[in-house]
Amino acid sequence: MVNNSNNGITLNREIKSEKEFSLKKFFFQWEWLLFLIFIAIHIINSQLSPYYLNTYTLLDATMTFLDKAFIALSMTFVIIFGDIDISVGSTIALASVIMAVLYNAGLPMPLAILVCLLVGVIAGFINGILIVKFKELSAVIVTLSTMILYRGIAYIILENQASGGFPMWFNFLGWGYIKTIIPFILVAFIIAAVIFYVLLHKTTFGRKVYAIGNNDVASLFSGVKVDKIKIIVFTLNGLMAAIAALFLTSKMGSTRPNIASGYELDVIAMVVLGGVSTSGGKGRMIGVLLSIFIIGFLRYGLGLVNVPDQVILIVIGILLIFSVMLSNLKLFSNKS
């Protein structure tokens, strides 16, 4: 530090504006750790099953977990706020059920899909409005209530029926391939992931999301439209849930009020393993993407050698805790 006491004049200090590159800092990042786990999982899986290390298998495997991964993208924003949205599973059910019912009532499929997305948007918007207007309630409470409510409405609509019979082309969402081997859902997900990556890390919107997550009062005082941005993010989360609903419904060919139950916890696990802290303000999209594929491939690979589901759950539970434990070591810096 400069000590300019001797010359007796005020000298403005020079403040550095170039980042010093530190090899240690570069390598001890959470995302590297995730990357290592990612590689390790592929090595282990390919040792376990002769079917695993195969382009077709790997590509096909993505079809089994990418539906919820869409929500993880927007849930990342929600959790950066320090909030949480546990109503997404129910939003999927509601959006999907309404779409199916309207289609079977004669609405053309493209319009039904639009309605599905709209339902997601509205469900998310309601969450957002309630959270913003009732600041004394946390997002957990609001979305816990709407979680029960949204699924409840789905039950009222469809009771114990299933609804399906969608046109053939709708199958393509969940089951279709591009160039015969690349699952369509993978392509769609990559596009969405790029959009969300840019939105979070390159735009003023993303910057404001981080600001709110760190200190919403200071953000308000700095002219950030805190409420508006929160509503947008929750609405976006509803929209992504509706998109997940499209893929899931296509995958199942029909829908029921009880679909996607428990999805919220899977999505949250993906996001927090990715290094997004539920206390807000921290985390990067890259981490979330890695974590989506880690959990997905781990499940798929172990399932391929027919490890019981319960054991897979234990493995994922321990992985979650163990990796977060590692990340807490002082070595890993985890800045946005």
Binding site: I84, L130, F134, E136, L137, S138, V140, I141, V142, L144, S145, T146, M147, I148, L149, Y150, R151, G152, I153, Y155, I156, E159, N160, G262, L265, I268, A269, V272, S277, T278, S279, P308, Q310, V311, L313, I314, I316, G317, I318, L319, L320, I321, V324, M325, N328
Partner: protein
């Protein structure tokens, strides 16, 4: 700061009271409505059923409240409950002459250990509660499945004395209700009249301040998860005794009910806030919903939506009331 203005102000206690009264008012209105639809609702026998069925939830809610006050959350309690219930009932089926008290102790012990592990993860390894408990939830469920080999322990494998834990009664009051009352008394005292109890609030209200003023934050954190675990363990025994069946998916998802009851009872997820008296009304409202909906003959397909709507309304209304009081408390002068 004139003396007069400060006297007009509504005190901390008043705020809480009014909140609780509003909830109790809501409960009364709801009860009258249900009573109108089914005159069996406000009979002694139904109230007895209601309380018995809410007892386990209420015991878990006490633990959950303390966890939430410290800004934490515990998603693993359903799994802990299942683990403790399974181990205890397997033990009981192997040693039918085991004294029920021993069974209770085994269950509490297993719960304590599970809770202590979580407490360790949260306090010492700084793992966020939601992650630690989400992870351990999977682990505990998996272990329960593995030790039971996918089998259930059924009624005929349990001794009568074991089943009597939850069916027996003292002075005409069912044991479950009695246990819940004792737990509420003990924890009411613990939370309000002991230093350790107050430290729980301090840690939740401002962990930094707590640390700087010499409160052992880690110890308190560890303590609340251990207590939560112990109560979940106890509930596990009560559960399998009540239903006379232990399965590896016992009480799956039950943590959400408990959290909902806490939240309705005015426990703030942001930490630092929540009272035993408020919790009782939250638990009661939840219990009434569970009990009343089947009785008023609503279509089963409507039950979910009604439950969600009632919770939402209860929470919103109490927030509005709190806001009313909060703002009048802030205004310093009335012209």
């Amino acid at each position: 700061m004139s003396e007069k203005s400060s006297k007009n102000k509504i005190s901390l206690e008043r705020i809480q009271q009014i909140r609780e009264f509003s909830l109790i008012g809501f409960i009364i209105v709801l009860s009258i409505f249900v009573q109108f639809r089914n005159s069996n609702f406000l009979t002694m026998s139904n109230i007895d059923d209601l309380l018995t069925n809410t007892a386990i939830l209420s015991i878990l809610a006490v633990g959950m409240m303390m966890v939430i006050i410290t800004r934490g959350i515990d998603l693993s309690i359903g799994a802990t409950l299942a683990l403790s219930g399974m181990v205890t009932s397997m033990t009981v089926s192997n040693y039918p002459s085991l004294h029920p008290l021993v069974a209770l102790l085994i269950g509490i012990f297993i719960g304590l250990i599970s809770g202590a592990i979580i407490g360790l993860l949260v306090a010492k390894f700084n793992i966020l509660p939601i992650i630690a408990t989400l992870g351990m939830m999977n682990v505990f469920r998996g272990i329960t499945f593995l030790i039971s080999g996918g089998k259930w322990v059924s009624a005929y494998q349990m001794s009568d004395s074991f089943k009597a834990i939850s069916t027996g009664s003292i002075l005409g009051i069912n044991n479950l209700i009695l246990i819940a009352i004792i737990i509420y008394l003990v924890f009411y005292y613990f939370i309000n009249y002991t230093r350790t109890g107050r430290k729980i609030y301090a840690v939740g209200s401002s962990p930094e301040s707590a640390k700087i003023s010499g409160i052992n934050v880690d110890r308190i954190t560890w303590l609340v998860y251990s207590i939560m675990g112990g109560l979940a363990g106890l509930s596990g025994v009560l559960w399998v005794s009540k239903f006379a069946s232990a399965q590896s998916n016992t009480a799956s998802g039950y943590e959400m009910n408990v959290i909902a009851a806490c939240v309705i009872g005015g426990v703030s997820i942001a930490g630092g806030e929540g009272k035993v008296t408020g919790l009782i009304s939250g638990v009661l409202l939840y219990g009434i919903l569970e009990n009343a909906l089947p009785m008023i003959n609503v279509s089963p397909f409507w039950q979910n939506a009604i439950q969600g709507a009632v919770i939402l309304i209860a929470v919103l209304v109490s927030a509005l009331i709190k806001r009313r009081i909060g703002s009048s408390n802030k205004i310093r002068r009335e012209d």
